[in-house]
């Protein structure tokens, strides 16, 4: 059996969970096995209709588990593994999925391969391809302990809805004590940010050292306003305090995948590019025609961003009849 461990928020399964579920079903298929799913929260029964093609849904319904309680969640999964002896356990390689599975791994003293993009059984071992350097490199690795614990890199395996009947459901009960709740979300604060997020925007405009100063990001905001986009930046932009760190694009920031990324005054360091290379198209404005980013983009303007962008804003306004 292959066990999928799925995170849900407010009664919905995020895309990354559906990708992990797809991966679990595929792993089950190639090893002539069946897939089962663990779901934890207060209203998880309603999610069973998304789990077609799986043999069983193991549900833990408890209002106390509605907000993430990592140690309780890990205990539930660890006990489920001991009871049901899966060959492999699959979760999404998100912040939450990696946290949860690491805790499961150490409880059972097992190896865990995070950020996997491919996997196949080779006898008793599992071969995986996984992200290194935030995706700038791929590592081929072997997981030797059993069962195999893996998390799936978001966007690596496209979600394919399952076919066939809905799974049978079974309610699990795991005894939880006070210590299992020593780490738990106490409060959720709404974001102070307004407007479209970097994740949701179809157009993202990034600024780097070449923007010269924090004030100059105002022109990127203006352009983003006209193109219905969002503004982000390189690590230099966030380190200089020109943008908040939450706007950083790259290995230690966000990974974005808009239709168009416009990079202004950014050199194209590999740690920046892993954050934006999933963009459908990349347009560069950089005054140095030798900058490495010209090797990693679709369209380029060689020029001073501080002159090109105001001219571009004027021209876009004209084009839009504003």
């Amino acid at each position: 059996m292959i066990l999928a461990v799925l995170e849900q928020t407010k009664g919905t399964l995020p895309e990354s969970s559906l990708e992990a579920l797809t991966a679990a079903r595929e792993l089950a298929k190639i090893s002539n096995d069946q897939a089962e799913v663990v779901l934890i929260g207060s209203q998880v029964k309603s999610l069973v209709s998304h789990l077609k093609g799986c043999a069983k849904a193991l549900l833990v319904e408890d209002a106390k588990l509605d907000t993430y309680a990592p140690e309780a969640y890990a205990k539930i999964v660890a006990e489920t593994i001991q009871k049901r002896s899966p060959r492999a356990v699959v979760a999404a390689g998100t912040d939450l999925g990696n946290d949860w599975m690491s805790r499961v791994a150490v409880r059972l003293d097992l190896g865990l391969a995070t950020g996997c993009t491919e996997f196949k059984f080779e006898g008793a071992n599992l071969r995986v391809i996984r992200f290194n350097w935030g995706g700038s490199l791929l590592e081929e690795a072997e997981l030797r302990s059993n069962p195999k614990l893996i998390t799936v890199q978001p966007h690596a395996i496209p979600n394919k809805p399952g076919e066939g009947a809905e799974p049978a459901t079974e309610t699990l009960s795991v005894a939880l004590n006070e210590k299992d709740f020593r780490v738990q979300v106490k409060q959720v604060l709404a974001s102070e940010k307004k407007g479209i997020t970097l994740q949701d925007a179809k157009v993202v405009i990034g600024g780097g050292r070449g923007m010269g100063a924090g004030e100059n990001f105002k022109m990127l905001e203006d352009l983003a306003g006209l193109l219905n986009g969002a503004v982000g930046g390189s690590r230099v932009a966030t380190n200089n305090g020109w943008r908040p760190h939450s706007d950083q694009i790259g290995q230690t920031g966000q990974i974005i995948a808009p239709d168009l990324y416009i990079a202004c005054g950014i050199s194209g360091a590999i740690q920046h590019m892993v954050g934006c290379k999933a963009s459908k198209k990349i347009l560069v404005i950089n005054k140095d025609s030798e900058a490495p980013i010209f090797q990693r983009a679709d369209y380029g303007v060689v020029g001073d961003a501080l002159q090109v962008i105001p001219a571009l804003i004027a021209e876009v306004k004209k084009a839009k009849g504003l």
Binding site: R182, V185, K186, V188, L189, A190, K202, L227, P244, E315
Partner: protein, 250 residues
Amino acid sequence: MKVLVCVKRVPDTGGGFKLTSDGQRVDTTNMDFTISPHEECAVEEAIRIIEKHGGSSTVLTLGPEQAQEQLREALAKSVNGAILLEAPDYESWDPAATAQAIAEAAKPGGYDILLFGNECADACNYQVGLRVAHWLDIPCVTGIKALEIQGNKAIAKREVKDGWEVYEVSLPAAFTVKEGLNSPRHPSLRGIMGAKKIPIEKKKLNKREPQLVRKMLRKPQEGRGQIEILGQGVEAVPKVVAKLRELGVI
């Protein structure tokens, strides 16, 4: 207050990667070395906690002799002590092996707070901090971007899609941190000179059998073709607008 902060030596690969011919590692000829930006923030936080609450901070790395360079950098920023867990072959230590050695080294220290990066820059395992915390039987919050110590409690915040999750745990506790937690300082010249005199404690610990074993590294395929240059300076603007139209952006 006693704080331990763990950092990993990695090559500074901004310009791109070359792999060794056997595909086993990054070719580091002529490369500088550094630590992950997350870990730089962990070091900074350790210093700030001690500045505010008193006590001492210690930086630890499991790595080769040369990793003393990364320890000295932290000492120069005014971390108080340093531990090198000697492991010339540290790249082949899996997360469980690394964490077991760190936990063993940390146990006698009586640390109130342990700080880690959310993930290391190279192998990106996302798990060493959690494993160490489990073996020391202390709570751990991962991926935090804010930390406040109040007596024997810590309030930590984690950024999520539409806001912040707030956690409260009692000390001793471990935290894995993300860049954005603070703005790391640069070492002063005096700090650099002073750091040279601080002795580094060296230990050699057993390596447990790895469960996750590297076979090979490779570069991902890059899908983009030849770039189309739309022009020089402001003269390119009409072509850019035409392109934005073509792409359906305006």
